[in-house]
């Protein structure tokens, strides 16, 4: 209970603080008045339309997208760790994120006309296809005499990821795109995103998240290993397939609008497991919220930390936070990784 109150309060506080930060100075008093205006319209009556637009359609939209993308990536990370029994697994280390970014870039390059479904943007679907292709490749490469090894899987993920990053750069260069779009796909950014982007990700997060939460109990049992889970009546092969599909779907939707933001899915599940324990019924919702919070904070730092007013890619901030954490995991591998 305490944990939930903490995380929800922190999110509200972070959203409030983040919506007051930016190159255009807006006082927190004004932000607060805007927030409360639905209940007391008179307070907001003397606020300029321009300020209202910046807070609601620029900053809040971006904040909402940060929460969604972070939640999706962290949730996917928790599922990959649980299904593959691999503490180093996350959408980035498995190459799934880069695969999704590659799928989306390819779809943009080819004009996207070839997969048009009425009422849906083809971008997340193309990203999903890329994510699944990358995951299958990593899975095949990571197998050694029929077994999946923790380290080989991550090694395969990093190889596939590096190769696909290079391909993305090549595609973009051939298409005479600017360096900034390459950086967008490889390092991730939420710059210039609107409510439309947030609404694009949410349905996929909702569907994938529902599947993942539905199997929360099975994820607990899977932690005993394949054979024992099978003995307890879990259909392991089918369960693994469905969960990997769901996790890749939410990853792909997030990557399609934000590019590759690394380490969120790695760091958050470990930290949350330390506080709420390994039960997936509690872990998964907590991971969803904490992941959103981390990306929100990282994105706010990314757009405000440089004195010149330039923006950093948000992936730079998460990697700066995640890299040392990865080192910590390696140093304490006896305890966490059982290598």
């Amino acid at each position: 209970m305490f944990y939930w109150a903490c995380i929800l309060l922190s999110i509200v506080a972070a959203v409030f603080l983040a919506s007051g930060i930016g190159s255009f100075k807006i006082s927190y008093r004004t932000v607060a008045e805007l927030w409360l205006s639905p209940f007391h319209p008179a307070w907001a009556s003397d606020i300029e339309d321009r300020v209202r637009y910046i807070v609601i359609h620029v900053r809040l939209a971006r904040i909402c997208l940060a929460l969604t993308v972070g939640g999706a990536l962290a949730l996917a990370g928790a599922v990959y760790q649980g299904v593959l029994l691999n503490p180093l697994a996350d959408p980035f280390t498995l190459g799934v994120s880069t695969g999704a970014a590659f799928g989306a870039s390819l779809a943009i390059l080819t004009g996207m006309g070839w997969i048009f479904i009425p009422g849906m943007s083809p971008l997340p679907l193309a990203a999903f296809a890329g994510a699944l292709a990358a995951l299958s490749l990593v899975y095949l490469l990571g197998r050694l005499d029929g077994r999946i090894h923790t380290t080989t899987l991550v090694l395969a993920g990093i190889i596939v990821s590096t190769f696909l990053s290079a391909l993305i750069s090549l595609l973009k260069s051939l298409n005479e795109d600017s360096v900034s779009t390459i950086v967008f796909w490889i390092m991730g950014s939420l710059s210039g995103k609107s409510w439309a982007h947030a609404l694009l990700v949410l349905p996929y997060l909702f569907v994938g998240g529902a599947v993942i939460l539905y199997y929360a109990r099975e994820l607990d049992i899977l932690s005993l290993g394949d054979v024992q889970a099978q003995h307890l009546g879990v259909d392991v092969a089918r369960l693994r397939f469905r969960l990997l599909l769901a996790a890749s779907l939410v990853t792909a939707a997030a990557v399609a609008v934000s590019g590759v933001i690394g380490f969120v899915g790695l760091v958050i599940p470990h930290l949350v497991r330390l506080t709420v324990g390994p039960h997936h019924r509690r872990l998964l919702p907590a991971v969803l919220f904490s992941g959103g919070l981390l990306v929100l904070v990282s994105d706010t730092l990314a757009r405000s930390i440089l004195p010149s007013g330039e923006e950093l890619p948000v992936g730079v901030v998460t990697a700066l936070l995640g890299g040392p954490f990865f080192c910590y995991l390696l140093l304490h591998r006896k305890k966490y990784l059982q290598l």
């Binding site: 029994l85 503490p87 029929g146 539905y214 109990r217 607990d220 049992i221 932690s223 005993l224 290993g225 054979v227 024992q228 099978q230 003995h231 307890l232 009546g233 879990v234 259909d235 497991r273 324990g277 390994p278 039960h279 059982q338």
Partner: protein, 256 residues
């Protein structure tokens, strides 16, 4: 309870079981023995539907195994597997509680009945002291006791064990087997145990099946199959079989 008919299984490209047939009646206590690589563990994996059947058939509780849903099978048969690894820091009580999974519906949280069963198996397996410790932090032998408790929490009519006591000390081994014998006698629990320890089997199992090279080498009452001839043929080692005075049980000594 179990019917295996001309079962053939391949594992990693190698024929491990060739034409194995046997039947298990309700209330039996069977030891499955044999040298390494004889196909004992594969038999258990095939019985729990993990290793696919090449030909022949397996029936459990009168139903073909490939027609049973995994949860249904887990309500009829519990298995204590050889490798009990644990990745996430669940407490031992929570691991035992996972044994209730096959009885639980999707939206039902642990019921009062589940709690009663969990507390009961913790008590009878003498694992109450471990209940609140992390499964990742207990020793190999302790983990095996927790896994036995979890299998009993499944409340199945049939219990399969694969080297389930291999990491336990002598005292714990005997404790677990005395418990199993009591459950077998009082509650009619049917038990099939894969064992390396011939003498442990000789004390508790009323029937023994010896495997060699993927075939049954001998199958019968303990008193009939525990003979120097059969043991020497199965293990390729000289043996001495002795009756232990007042118990009427036999013990085996392997000679170099």
């Amino acid at each position: 309870m179990i019917r295996v008919e001309r079962l053939r299984c391949a594992y990693e490209g190698r024929d491990v079981l060739k034409e194995v047939s046997f039947e298990v009646e309700r209330g039996e206590f069977i030891g499955v023995l044999g040298p390494n690589g004889a196909g004992k563990s594969t038999l258990l994996l095939a019985l729990s539907g993990i290793v696919p059947v090449r030909s022949g058939k397996i029936e459990i509780l009168g139903r073909p195994i490939d027609r049973m849903r995994p949860k249904e099978r887990a309500r009829g048969m519990a298995v204590v597997a050889q490798d009990a690894d644990a990745r996430f820091p669940f407490t031992c009580r929570e691991v035992v509680r996972m044994g209730r999974y096959p009885h639980q519906g999707r939206w039902r949280i642990d019921s009062v009945e589940d709690e009663t069963v969990v507390e009961r198996v913790l008590r009878i397996t003498d694992t109450e002291g471990l209940a609140d410790r992390m499964i990742t932090a207990v020793s190999g032998g302790e983990r095996q006791r927790v896994v036995v408790a979890r299998a009993l929490a499944q409340q199945t009519p049939l219990l399969l064990l694969d080297e389930a006591v291999s990491s336990m000390d002598v005292h714990r081994r005997l404790q677990v087997f005395c418990l199993l014998e009591r459950l077998n006698r009082e509650e009619g629990l049917t038990i099939l145990a894969v064992l390396h320890d011939v003498n442990l089997a000789a004390f508790f199992c009323r029937r023994m099946i010896f495997f060699k090279n993927g075939e049954t080498a001998a199958d019968g009452r303990a008193a009939d199959v525990l003979t120097p001839e059969i043991l020497e043929r199965v293990y390729q080692t000289r043996v001495m079989v002795q009756e232990i005075g007042e118990t009427g049980k036999r013990q085996v000594i392997f000679l170099p």
